[in-house]
C-alpha cells in the first residue's frame, strides 16, 4: 500500500479523497493555486504545495508542476479527483513515465474511452447499443457539420470529445442553433479540456440518464455496483442523483449491469469507472460514454452498497485484487444526492462567487455532507462552482426524500447564492416524489421557478433580527461615536438592554 498520495484537485472531492486516504493510513499532499491558500483541502492535507496562479491552466491543469510536487514530497501516487486532469490520458501517461501511480484507469483505456467518438465505434463493433450519431470529430466548417446534422436528424446534441460535466454541450434544433452552438461548444471545450473537438449525435427527447458504477482490478475482475439515476439536470449538468433508479426492474438492472461490465472489459479498463446510458421511454438503453474517474455522485452508490469507492480505487491502484464478486453485492435502502452549487437559480443558474459569511452544515442520522467549504472561506470565480454534496440514505425512497427535505431546510449558507432553495422544491415536486424523473424535468417543471416569498411571520422575524444586528441603533440612536460599537457581539443593543433590565 502507498505511504503518501498527492491529490491533484481542490474542493469537496479533494477533501473526500483525503479522508479515504487517512482511513487507509496514507499521508496526503494537497496542491493549491494562489486562489486556494485558504481552502479546505489545504487544511485537510498533511502537506501542501503551491502550484501556481489562480487560473486552472496555470495550476491544477499544469501537469509538470503537479508531477514535480509529487516528486518533491515523495508521493508515490496521484489521485486526480474529478475534472481537471482526471480524464487526461496524457497526464496518466506522464505519471506512468515518472514512476508515479495514477489512481485511475491505465492510459490506453483512458485514451479509448476519453475519445467519445472512437469509444462509440469500438462499442458499436462489440455489439453494445449506441445512440445514432456522427462517427468522427466534427470540423469547424459549418456546411459539413450541417449536412451531418441533417443526416442524423434534428434535434442533435453537440458534445465535447474530451468532455464531461455538461461543458461544451449544446442542443441544436436547426441550422442556426447548430452554428452558434458549435462555436460556443468548441470554445468551452477548449477552455475546459484544452481540446476543442466536438461531435454530434441524435438528441433523444426526455430520456432518463442511468449510469452504472463499475470496479475492475488489474487482473480483469470486473463487477458493477448497480445504477445511479442522474436524470435531474439543469444546463445538461446533473444536480440530483439517486439509487436505485425507479425505472429499472431486476431484469433490466441485471442486463444493463452486465452490459456495463462488458463495456469496461472491451475497453481494457481497470480501476473505478462509470458507464453512462440513456434510457428511453420504451426502456431501450443506449451506451453514452465511460466516465473514467470517480464521479461527483459516487456517494449514493457507497451508501446503498456499503462499498467505499475511494478505498477501492486506492487498493486497486496499489495492485490489490477485488475481495468481492458480483454476487456479494446488493442494494440496500435508497440514497439521494443533491449537489450544492454556488449559483443563482433565479438568474439561469449563473455561478455566484464571494465569501461564505456563515455556514451551518446539515446533520443527523442518514445524512452525509461531503463539504468543500467552511464559514469564512472564499468561493473563487476560477473553478467549478460546486461547494458540497448533500447525500442521504434511508430505508425507502419516500423516507430518503423526507430526510433530504429536512436536511436542505436546515442547511444554511450565507454570503453566496446557492441552489439549496431550488433543490427543496425539486425534491418536493409531486413528479419527483412519484419517480417521474427524466432529463426534461427541470425545463418542464421549473422554467418559471420563483423562490418562495416567506410568510409575513418570517419577514417580521427577519426585520427583528436585522434590527438586533443593526449597529446604527435605529433612526433615533446615537451616531457612529456610540460606545455600543465596541461590544464584540453583533447583538449590541440586546446586550445593553439586558444589562439595564437585570
Amino acid at each position: 500500500m502507498f505511504a503518501k498520495i498527492l491529490i491533484a484537485n481542490r474542493g469537496e472531492i479533494a477533501v473526500r479523497v483525503m479522508r479515504g486516504c487517512g482511513e487507509l493510513g496514507i499521508a496526503t499532499v494537497a496542491v493549491y493555486s494562489d486562489a486556494d491558500r485558504k481552502s479546505l483541502h489545504v487544511q485537510t492535507a498533511e502537506e501542501a504545495v503551491a502550484i501556481g496562479p489562480a487560473p486552472a491552466a496555470e495550476s491544477y491543469l499544469d501537469m509538470e508542476r503537479i508531477l514535480r510536487a509529487a516528486k518533491d514530497t515523495g508521493a508515490e501516487a496521484i489521485h486526480p479527483g474529478y475534472g481537471f486532469l482526471a480524464e487526461n490520458a496524457v497526464f496518466a501517461r506522464r505519471c506512468e513515465e515518472e514512476g508515479i501511480v495514477f489512481i485511475g484507469p491505465n492510459s490506453r483505456a483512458m485514451d479509448l474511452v476519453g475519445d467519445k467518438v472512437r469509444s462509440r465505434q469500438t462499442m458499436e463493433k462489440a455489439g453494445i447499443p449506441i445512440i445514432p450519431g456522427m462517427k468522427g470529430t466534427i470540423s469547424s466548417d459549418l456546411s459539413t457539420s450541417a449536412a451531418e446534422a441533417e443526416k442524423i436528424g434534428y434535434p442533435v446534441m453537440i458534445k465535447a470529445s474530451a468532455g464531461g460535466g455538461g461543458k461544451g454541450m449544446r442542443v441544436a434544433r436547426n441550422r442556426d442553433e447548430l452554428a452558434s452552438g458549435l462555436e460556443a461548444g468548441m470554445r468551452e471545450a477548449k477552455a475546459a479540456f484544452g481540446d476543442e473537438s466536438v461531435y454530434l449525435e441524435k438528441y433523444i427527447e426526455d430520456p432518463r440518464h442511468v449510469e452504472f458504477q463499475v470496479l475492475a482490478d488489474n487482473e480483469g475482475n470486473t463487477v458493477h455496483l448497480f445504477e445511479r439515476e442522474c436524470s435531474i439536470q439543469r444546463r445538461h449538468q446533473k444536480i440530483v442523483e439517486e439509487t436505485p433508479s425507479q425505472a429499472l426492474d431486476p431484469e433490466l438492472r441485471a442486463r444493463m449491469g452486465e452490459t456495463a461490465c462488458r463495456v469496461m472489459q472491451v475497453a481494457g479498463y481497470n480501476n473505478a469507472g462509470t458507464v453512462e446510458f440513456l434510457l428511453d421511454k420504451d426502456r431501450n438503453f443506449y451506451f453514452l460514454e465511460v466516465n473514467a474517474r470517480l464521479q461527483v455522485e459516487h456517494p449514493v452508490t457507497e451508501l446503498v452498497t456499503g462499498v467505499d469507492l475511494v478505498h477501492q480505487q486506492i487498493r486497486i491502484a496499489a495492485g490489490e485484487t477485488l475481495t468481492f464478486r458480483q454476487e456479494d453485492l446488493e442494494q440496500k435502502g435508497h440514497a439521494i444526492e443533491c449537489r450544492i452549487y454556488a449559483e443563482d437559480p433565479l438568474r439561469n443558474f449563473l455561478p455566484s462567487s464571494g465569501t461564505v459569511l456563515f455556514l451551518k452544515e446539515p446533520a443527523g442520522p442518514g445524512v452525509r455532507h461531503d463539504c468543500g467549504i467552511f464559514g469564512g472561506c472564499e468561493v473563487p470565480i476560477y473553478y467549478d462552482p460546486i461547494l458540497a454534496k448533500l447525500i442521504v440514505w434511508a430505508e425507502s425512497r419516500d423516507m430518503a426524500i423526507q430526510r433530504m427535505l429536512n436536511a436542505l431546510e436546515n442547511y444554511v449558507i450565507m454570503g453566496v447564492k446557492t441552489c439549496i432553495g431550488f433543490l427543496k422544491d425539486v425534491i418536493d415536486h409531486p413528479r419527483f416524489r412519484a419517480g417521474h424523473t427524466t432529463t426534461s424535468f427541470i425545463p418542464e417543471h421549473f422554467a418559471e421557478w420563483q423562490a418562495p416569498e416567506g410568510t409575513a411571520d418570517l419577514r417580521n422575524l427577519a426585520l427583528l433580527a436585522a434590527a438586533l444586528r443593526s449597529k446604527g441603533g435605529g433612526r433615533s440612536a446615537a451616531g457612529p461615536g456610540d460606545e455600543s460599537r465596541a461590544v464584540p457581539t453583533p447583538w449590541s443593543i440586546l446586550g445593553k438592554w439586558r444589562m439595564g433590565g437585570k
Binding site: K167, A192, L350, N460, L461, L468
Partner: protein
C-alpha cells in the same frame, strides 16, 4: 426604537420596545412579543407565543442577511448612501436598457457594436465564470447606444457592459 430596512424592494419599519426577556415588536399592522436569546454572533433563538425559531444572520456593511425556517432574506439598512441605493434599485423600466454583468467573470465575446440594431433574444455578450459560458441576450428590440467593456475584461456583478436604446 424604530428601524427601517429595505427588503424585496420595499421599505419596512419595525419598532422594538424592551419587554421582559425580549421585545414588544411592531411591524406594519402586526404587534407581537418576541422572547429573544442570542446563541452566537450568527444566531438568535426567538420564542413567539410558544413557537420556537432559530434565526441565523450574517452581513457586511449595511446589508443584513437572515435565514429562518429555510428562507433567506436580505435587508438593506438605509445609510448616507441610501438615496443612491434606492435610486438604483427603484429604476424600473429604465434599467432594462443597461446590460450588466450577471456575475463576476470574464468577458469572452461582445457580439454587437455601437449603433447596431438588435432584436429580442439576440446574443449581446458572452461572459465566462467558473468555466461556464453565459450568453446574455437582449430582452428588447433596440439599438446599441454604448459598449463599455471589451473581450478579456474581468467584470464584477452589475458592471455595465452595453447600453441599449429601445426602438420606438
Amino acid at each position: 426604537m424604530d428601524y427601517q430596512f429595505q427588503m424585496s424592494g420595499n421599505l419596512h419599519t419595525i419598532a422594538l420596545e424592551a419587554r421582559g426577556e425580549g421585545y414588544l415588536v411592531t411591524a406594519g399592522d402586526t404587534t407581537f412579543v418576541a422572547e429573544v436569546c442570542p446563541l452566537s454572533p450568527n444566531a438568535l433563538s426567538v420564542l413567539i407565543d410558544g413557537r420556537s425559531y432559530t434565526v441565523y444572520t450574517a452581513g457586511d456593511g449595511n446589508r443584513h442577511l437572515v435565514f429562518c425556517e429555510g428562507q433567506h432574506f436580505e435587508l438593506i439598512e438605509p445609510s448616507e448612501d441610501s438615496d443612491r441605493f434606492l435610486a438604483g434599485e427603484g429604476g424600473g423600466a429604465g434599467d432594462e436598457l443597461m446590460i450588466k454583468a450577471p456575475m463576476p467573470g470574464k468577458i469572452i465575446k461582445i457580439s454587437v457594436s455601437e449603433n447596431e440594431e438588435v432584436r429580442k433574444n439576440q446574443t449581446l455578450v458572452i461572459v465566462e465564470a467558473m468555466k461556464m459560458e453565459n450568453e446574455i441576450k437582449s430582452t428588447i428590440e433596440g439599438v446599441v447606444k454604448r459598449v463599455s467593456a471589451s473581450p478579456g475584461d474581468l467584470v464584477d456583478t452589475d458592471t455595465p457592459i452595453i447600453e441599449l436604446t429601445k426602438k420606438e
